[in-house]
C-alpha cells in the first residue's frame, strides 16, 4: 500500500498563431518547434511506456488554442514543410561535419530525431495530435484537462463575469467535441484564481482546478493538510495546490535540473553560428537569422555563449537518469515524512509547463520517461495519480475558500498588470461590454448577422490571450504582441460598428473568418446575461 500520491501535471499551451496571409511567418515557428521538441517527443514517451507495460498517470492541459492548432489543416501542412526543411538541413550537416567528431554524431542525432518525428506526425498520427493524445486518455493513462478558451488571465476580468463564463464554456464545448467527454479539470491560465470563479466552473461540470501554493495556504479557513490534500470551494469544486519543493527542482536555475552543465544549451544554434550563404535557405524568408533547432553545445556553465562547449549526448542522458532518480528519491522522502506527520496519504501536485520539457530543457522528455519507469519499477512508497482519480478515492475533503493568486512572478497579477501592459484593459473591458450588449440585443440571429456576431466573439477572445500582456512585460517580440492585440481590437470594433449600423461588410467578414478561424462552432450567445 502506497504512503502517498504524486500527480504530475503538464500545462501545454501556445497562443493561437496562424497567418495564412503570409507565406512564412516567424511566430508560427513557436508551434512547429514545440511539435518537434515537446509534443511529439512526449507522445513518443507515452508510446514507449505503454509498449513496455509501464502503468502511469499524467495530467495534461491542452489549451483550447493549442488544440485548435493541432486540428488545423493549414498548420499541419506547414509543419510538414517545416520539418522537411529541417531534415534536409540535417543531412547537409551530416556531410558538413563528417571530419569533425565533436559534431558529426550530433548532426546524426538530430537527423534521426527529425525523421522519426515526421514519421510519427504524418504516419502514425495522421497529422492530428489531438487524436494522438486522446488515445492515451482513452487508455486511462493520461488525463487531459482544459483551460480558458484563449488563455485569458481571469482575475483581471472580474468586472465582467460573462467574459469568464464564455472563456470556460467555449473551452468545455470544444473539449467535448474533440475528446468525446466533458473535461474533469481545468488549468486556470497562469493559475489565476479569483474567488467565485469556481461557481462558473461548477456550472460547466468541472470538478477541479490547480492553484499555486499560497492560494491554498492563504485560504479561509486554514487548510488542515496544506497543499497535500485538495480542498473544496463552497461550490464543491476542488482546488489542488502546487507543491513548492518538486516545483523548484525543475523550475529553478540555481537548484533545478535544467541548468545542469551537461544539458543542451537553448540559445546557441547553428542558425546564428554558421556561414550565412550556407544557412540562408533555412532561416527566415527575409534573411533574418533565426534558430533552426540544431544546437551543438551544452550549458557548460555561466559563460558567454561563444565559450560554450560541445554537447555530449551520452553525458546528458546519464544526467537525466540521475536527475530522475533524484526526483523520485526526494518525493519518497517527502511522502514518508508527510505520511508520518499526517497519518494519512498526502498527494503531491507537480505542475510544469509542458514546453519546458524538450523545448527549453531538451532532455526533459527523457527525464520524464526515466522517472516514470523508476517510480513504476523501483519503489513502493508512492503511486502516480491524477486529481480526478484521487477525488474518486477520497471524497471527503476540507472546505476552504482559496485566496486570489497566480503562479506568476510575485504570486498575484503584476505580470499582466504593470507599466508595459496596463493600457490594454481599458480596451479589453470596452470590447467585453460591447460583446455582452450585442449578445443581449440579438437573442437569435442568423445569416450574415449571426456570422458577424460569432466572429466578434472570436476576435474578443483572441484579444484576451494572456500571452500578449506577458510578452509586453517580458520584452520578447513585443511588436508582435501589440500587432495582435491591435488587429483583434480593430476587427472587433469594426464588426461592432457594422452590426450596430446594420451595414455588415461581407467581404471583410469572410476575410477575418478565414484568418481568425479559431472555434468554428462558437455561439456568441455565451456572452448573453
Amino acid at each position: 500500500m502506497a504512503k502517498g500520491y504524486l500527480a504530475l501535471a503538464l500545462h501545454a499551451h501556445l497562443p493561437f498563431v496562424r497567418h495564412p496571409e503570409y507565406e512564412d511567418f516567424l511566430e508560427e515557428d513557436w508551434f512547429y518547434e514545440a511539435l518537434t521538441e515537446t509534443y511529439l517527443p512526449l507522445l513518443r514517451v507515452f508510446e514507449g511506456l505503454v509498449n513496455d507495460n509501464v502503468d502511469f498517470r499524467i495530467t495534461m492541459t491542452i489549451s483550447p488554442s493549442l488544440l485548435s492548432m493541432f486540428v488545423d489543416p493549414l498548420l499541419q501542412n506547414r509543419y510538414l514543410a517545416h520539418i522537411d526543411k529541417l531534415i534536409e538541413l540535417s543531412y547537409k550537416e551530416i556531410d558538413r561535419t563528417r571530419h569533425d567528431s565533436r559534431f558529426n554524431h550530433l548532426a546524426e542525432m538530430y537527423n534521426r530525431k527529425f525523421v522519426e518525428m515526421r514519421a510519427l506526425f504524418e504516419g502514425k498520427y495522421q497529422r492530428n495530435l489531438a487524436l494522438a493524445f486522446k488515445k492515451f486518455q482513452d487508455m486511462g493513462k493520461l488525463e487531459i484537462i482544459t483551460c480558458a478558451a484563449t488563455h485569458c488571465y481571469l482575475p483581471l476580468q472580474e468586472i465582467y463575469r460573462n467574459v469568464v463564463r464564455a472563456q470556460v464554456k467555449v473551452a468545455a464545448v470544444q473539449y467535448e467535441k474533440i475528446f468525446g467527454r466533458r473535461p474533469q479539470g481545468i488549468w486556470l491560465p497562469e493559475c489565476g484564481y479569483q474567488p467565485g470563479d469556481d461557481l462558473i466552473l461548477r456550472d460547466e461540470g468541472i470538478r477541479y482546478f490547480i492553484i499555486d501554493t499560497h492560494g491554498i495556504l492563504h485560504g479561509t479557513p486554514r487548510p488542515k493538510y496544506g497543499v497535500f490534500a485538495p480542498v473544496y470551494c463552497r461550490s464543491g469544486v476542488a482546488a489542488f495546490g502546487r507543491d513548492m519543493e518538486s516545483s523548484k527542482a525543475v523550475w529553478s536555475a540555481v537548484e533545478g535540473y535544467p541548468g545542469d552543465n551537461n544539458y543542451r544549451e537553448f540559445y546557441r544554434d547553428i542558425g546564428f553560428d554558421l556561414d550565412y550563404d550556407y544557412i540562408r535557405p533555412y532561416i527566415h524568408a527575409d534573411g533574418t537569422r533565426i534558430p533552426t533547432g540544431i544546437k551543438y553545445f551544452r550549458v557548460t556553465g555561466s559563460v558567454d555563449l561563444s565559450r560554450k562547449e560541445p554537447y555530449v549526448r551520452q553525458r546528458a542522458l546519464d544526467k537525466a537518469a540521475e536527475h530522475a532518480g533524484n526526483f523520485m528519491f526526494n518525493r519518497e522522502k517527502q511522502i514518508e515524512h508527510l505520511y508520518n506527520y499526517f497519518e494519512k496519504e498526502p498527494i503531491i501536485i507537480s505542475p510544469y509547463d509542458a514546453e519546458l520539457l524538450g523545448h527549453w530543457w531538451y532532455e526533459g522528455p527523457e527525464w520524464l520517461d526515466f522517472m516514470i519507469r523508476k517510480v513504476y519499477h523501483d519503489q513502493k512508497t508512492m503511486q502516480l495519480t491524477t486529481p480526478s482519480e484521487y477525488l474518486d478515492q477520497h471524497k471527503k475533503n476540507q472546505v476552504v475558500m482559496p485566496s486570489m493568486s497566480s503562479w506568476g512572478w510575485k504570486g498575484y497579477s503584476e505580470v499582466w498588470l504593470e507599466g508595459s501592459n496596463d493600457w490594454i484593459y481599458r480596451h479589453l473591458h470596452k470590447m467585453a461590454e460591447r460583446m455582452i450588449e450585442l449578445a443581449n440585443s440579438f437573442r437569435s440571429a442568423d445569416g450574415v448577422l449571426r456570422r458577424a456576431l460569432n466572429q466578434a466573439a472570436r476576435e474578443l477572445m483572441l484579444a484576451e490571450s494572456s500571452d500578449w500582456a506577458f510578452i509586453m512585460k517580458t520584452g520578447t517580440c513585443v511588436p508582435y504582441a501589440i500587432k495582435r492585440f491591435k488587429d483583434h481590437t480593430e476587427r472587433f470594433m469594426k464588426l461592432y460598428e457594422s452590426i450596430r449600423s446594420n451595414n455588415i461588410d461581407e467581404r471583410f467578414l469572410s476575410d477575418i473568418e478565414s484568418k481568425d478561424n479559431i472555434f468554428p462552432d462558437i455561439d456568441y450567445s455565451v456572452y448573453a446575461s
Binding site: L26, R96, H99, I159, T220, M244, W360, W423, F470, T476
Partner: protein, 315 residues
C-alpha cells in the same frame, strides 16, 4: 481635465497612502538588478516559448488603426494587482464635466484639483490622491490586504469640498498570510509546522521558509526585474563583455560533365544541372584527406584528385 491617454508614461512620483507599508511604495516601474530567484526563473522559461531569435521586428500598420483615446464614457474601473496595490483607470465625459462646471461655477472650478478618493468599504474611511493633469490611470498603494476598496474620481475645491464624477466597482485584495479563521472541526494544533511543511523540504537545507519566500515575493524585495531585461542573450544591451569566436570550414568545388558521377571521400556528391558542385566541411584541427573522383556516365573514364588539408589553431 484628466483625460489624455498616457499609456506607458508614468508620473515618477506617486503619492502613496501613509501606512505601515509606506516603505514599500516605490516609483513605477521598479528597476531592480537581475536575480536568479526561482520565481523569476519560471518566467524566463515560460518566455522561451515565445523566443524567435529576432528581438526587434516591425509590422506594417494595418489600415492605420489607433486605439481610441477615450470612449466617451463617464466611468472608473478598479482592479486588484496584489495584496498591497490596486489599479484604476477612468474617463470623465464632456457632459459630466460641464455639469460639474455648472454646479461649481467656472471660477471655483478653475481652482479645483482632480483627485481620487479611495474608500475602504467596511467603514467607508477614505484618503485622497491628488492627480497631475492628464492622468487617466493610477496605481494605488493600499494599507490592508484582505480588504475591500472602492474609488471615486472627482474634483476638490480649494475649500476642501469633493465632487465625484464617477464611482468604481468594489474590489477585495487578497490576504498576504494565513487566515485567522480556524475551522474548529478540522483544526490541528501545529499550524506553523503545517505551513512550513507545505513550503517544501527543498527549502529545508537552507535558508528560506515558504513564509519568507512568499513575503519576499509580495514585498518586492526579491524583485527580479530581470524579466524585462532578458530577451535574447544574443542581443544583450549594455555591459556585455567583449567576445569573439572563429571557426574554419573547407569548401571544395569543381565541375565536370553534368552526367558524370563525382565521389568525395567515398560519398556521392549531387551535381547542379550545369555539372558544377560545391561541398563544405567543418574543419577541425589536424590533417584531412579528401579524395575526389569523377567518373564518366559510361564508366569508361575516371579522374582522381586528392586534396590534403591541415588545420592548426593557435590560441
Amino acid at each position: 481635465m484628466p483625460r489624455k491617454n498616457r499609456k506607458r508614461e508614468y508620473p515618477l512620483k506617486k503619492r502613496a497612502m501613509r501606512s505601515k507599508t509606506d516603505k514599500m511604495a516605490m516609483p513605477y516601474p521598479v528597476p531592480a538588478p537581475p536575480s536568479a530567484s526561482s520565481i523569476g526563473e519560471q518566467a524566463r522559461i515560460e518566455e522561451s516559448k515565445y523566443y524567435s531569435g529576432v528581438p526587434i521586428q516591425k509590422f506594417e500598420a494595418e489600415r492605420g488603426f489607433e486605439f481610441p483615446y477615450a470612449y466617451g464614457d463617464n466611468r472608473i474601473v478598479l482592479m486588484v494587482r496584489d495584496p498591497y496595490w490596486i489599479f484604476t483607470y477612468w474617463e470623465v465625459s464632456e457632459k459630466k464635466l460641464s455639469e460639474i462646471k455648472t454646479h461649481l461655477g467656472s471660477e471655483t472650478y478653475n481652482k479645483c484639483t482632480w483627485c481620487l478618493r479611495v474608500y475602504k468599504t467596511d467603514k467607508w474611511e477614505f484618503f485622497d490622491i491628488n492627480l497631475p493633469a492628464m492622468a487617466n490611470n493610477w496605481y494605488i498603494n493600499v494599507p490592508y490586504p484582505n480588504s475591500s476598496y472602492c474609488v471615486e474620481i472627482g474634483v476638490k475645491t480649494s475649500d476642501g469640498r469633493f465632487i465625484a464624477a464617477a464611482r468604481s466597482n468594489i474590489v477585495t485584495t487578497p490576504p498576504d498570510r494565513m487566515s485567522d479563521v480556524i475551522d474548529e472541526e478540522w483544526m490541528i494544533p501545529d499550524w506553523e509546522r503545517m505551513y512550513r511543511l507545505s513550503g517544501g523540504f527543498g527549502l529545508r537545507s537552507g535558508s528560506e521558509s515558504l513564509k519568507e519566500l512568499i513575503e519576499k515575493r509580495l514585498k518586492e524585495e526579491s524583485a527580479s526585474g530581470w524579466i524585462s531585461s532578458i530577451s535574447s542573450p544574443m542581443k544583450k544591451p549594455g555591459k556585455r563583455p567583449f567576445w569573439s569566436w572563429v571557426e574554419a570550414e573547407l569548401v571544395i568545388y569543381g565541375a565536370t560533365e553534368p552526367t558524370a558521377t563525382v565521389m568525395i571521400d567515398g560519398k556521392k556528391v549531387p551535381l547542379r544541372p550545369d555539372g558544377t558542385f560545391t561541398l563544405r566541411y567543418a574543419l577541425p584541427d589536424g590533417q584531412q584527406n579528401f579524395p575526389v573522383v569523377a567518373t564518366r556516365d559510361d564508366g569508361a573514364e575516371k579522374r582522381r584528385v586528392d586534396i590534403e588539408v591541415e588545420r592548426k589553431t593557435n590560441k
